[in-house]
Assembly symmetry: C2
Homo-oligomer: 301 residues x 2
């Protein structure tokens, strides 16, 4: 990263290279037309591509080959996208808008949206294994990363977090530790796994893998707090989804529990802790990850 480039530009540049891969990764695989259209509608609807970028950056910083990790990195975006499609369904959060466009089941239909999510989740694991089979990463590393990602995305992680979120919705007096545990599962686990898998795919020693995991865990919490804050202070156009929807849906949030100022302060503290796990590294990737972590909280200032 050149000194002149802001982290936002650099993130966009890296997101564009992920995008380039995402555009072709579902083609020529025998996917029926309408289903493919539905999957690509959501997968290529924009977004910061934060999770794939985290995989590639941690992999690169620890001496790995990000090019070989690209299919694995892209798989994180497939998983993230599938979770958004299913979360938006009428039986779940019943959201009509996503990233400023009709949500998947609004643009297509409910059955297609369910299947598009199922398809993206399954294709994700195909992409992960392709990181070894097509790009030549060592099989044992890829397999360990698949194991880590399956735990993070599964019923004890992201899927379980959504289930708990549904239980909490409309319930008053959810205590902070329970809220934090839910978020750690629902959004934190995948961000944590992105960093950890990047380190694993690089073949890094366990101490580095632990740093990656802790960095991810802490920015994951900060990210969620900032999301809650933005839902209060931002407008619908900026968010691409209805502002204030958390309160409207009866969701317990950080601002609701501790106020805006304390929420922002807490996010800063988590980012500071995340940065301690970068202190032993050097070079352009370290600088990028450092600024990326700071950028998460800068969005609310």
């Amino acid at each position: 990263m050149t000194a002149a480039a802001t982290v936002k530009e650099e993130l966009a540049r890296r997101a564009a290279s992920v995008e380039e891969f995402l555009v072709t990764c579902l083609r020529d695989r025998g996917i029926p037309d309408r289903l493919l259209a539905s999957m690509e509608y959501s997968l290529l609807a924009g977004g910061k591509r934060l999770r794939p970028v985290l995989v590639l950056s941690w992999c690169g910083m620890l001496g790995g080959e990000p090019d070989k990790a690209m299919p694995f990195a892209a798989s994180m975006e497939c998983i993230h996208t599938y979770s958004l499609i299913h979360d938006d369904l009428p039986a779940m959060d019943d959201d009509d808008l996503r990233r400023g466009k009709p949500s998947n089941h609004k643009r297509f239909d409910e059955a297609t949206a369910i299947l598009a999510g199922d398809g993206l989740l399954t294709e994700a694991f195909g992409l992960m294994s392709a990181a070894s089979i097509v790009r030549g990463l060592p099989a044992d590393r890829v397999l360990r990363a698949i194991f880590v990602l399956a735990q993070a995305a599964g019923a004890g992680g992201m899927v379980g977090g959504q289930a708990v979120d549904m239980e909490f919705t409309g319930r008053t007096g959810v205590p902070l530790p329970e809220l934090q545990r839910m978020h750690a599962m629902k959004t934190g686990a995948l961000i944590t796994a992105a960093c950890e898998c990047g380190a694993i795919l690089a073949g890094a020693p366990e101490a580095d893998v632990a740093n990656a995991r802790e960095f991810g865990r802490n920015i994951g919490v900060a990210f969620q707090i900032v999301d809650d804050v933005l839902d209060v202070v931002s407008d619908t156009e900026t968010l691409g989804k209805p502002a204030g929807s958390d309160e409207a849906m009866g969701k317990t949030t950080y601002p609701a529990l501790m106020g805006l100022d304390k929420s922002k302060q807490l996010a800063v503290e988590y980012v500071e802790t995340a940065l301690t796990h970068l202190s032993g590294y050097y070079g352009g990737e370290q600088e990028f990850l450092w600024q990326l972590a700071r950028y998460i909280v800068d969005r609310v200032y």
Copy 2:
């Protein structure tokens, strides 16, 4: 298999050993209570456990260690179960009954059923990687099997087949080749992958992997034809779901296209072709697979 044991008893015996593994495989993984209850409600609702048994038999026949392949075999049942939960949803086939019990979304709720399916699909890939990480199968074999299974279960396979099935439902005059292609994706791909993955996990030469695949492909078609036939000739109690539901839903079936007798004859022909791919092998596992293939069509005579 002793000469006295019928194939049905032997299948039940093997299913019981799969069951034993399934009962514990989701425990102690941090899955929220209600979600876990929903996942186990469907996963442990009985069934022939045909797909895991095929993995273990092919693995054993080709000199592999079925014990080590058990987590991988179990993952096939997780994937099969998730597909049934999602297929039953109101937006899809809208089935209230499954194996004689209320379907998952009827017993729990729609959101939980969607998440239970998502959870089972994701845990499946965790189990697959565990075949290497916990049980010590070579990583490269497991990774290749994951790749094969992801293709079979994904949007170009099972998920895509369900999407096409939805498109076909209520449409008259679906031609036989299109019907066959849909079934090959929707039900055939997973049965084929079960056999193929068993061979891959055994570390078998490519010629054996090809035999496993062709055996699976052919019994998969036979299995679907028999299913269609049973929907016409059987009763609701025996099926555990409403008999005649294919016709009621406007689904094109083999009996509708070619009549009952020709359908049965076609199933026999596919089984005969499947058996040619067993002709080079010997021993108890070969005998079991032989009788299992025959048993598929015997159900309708």
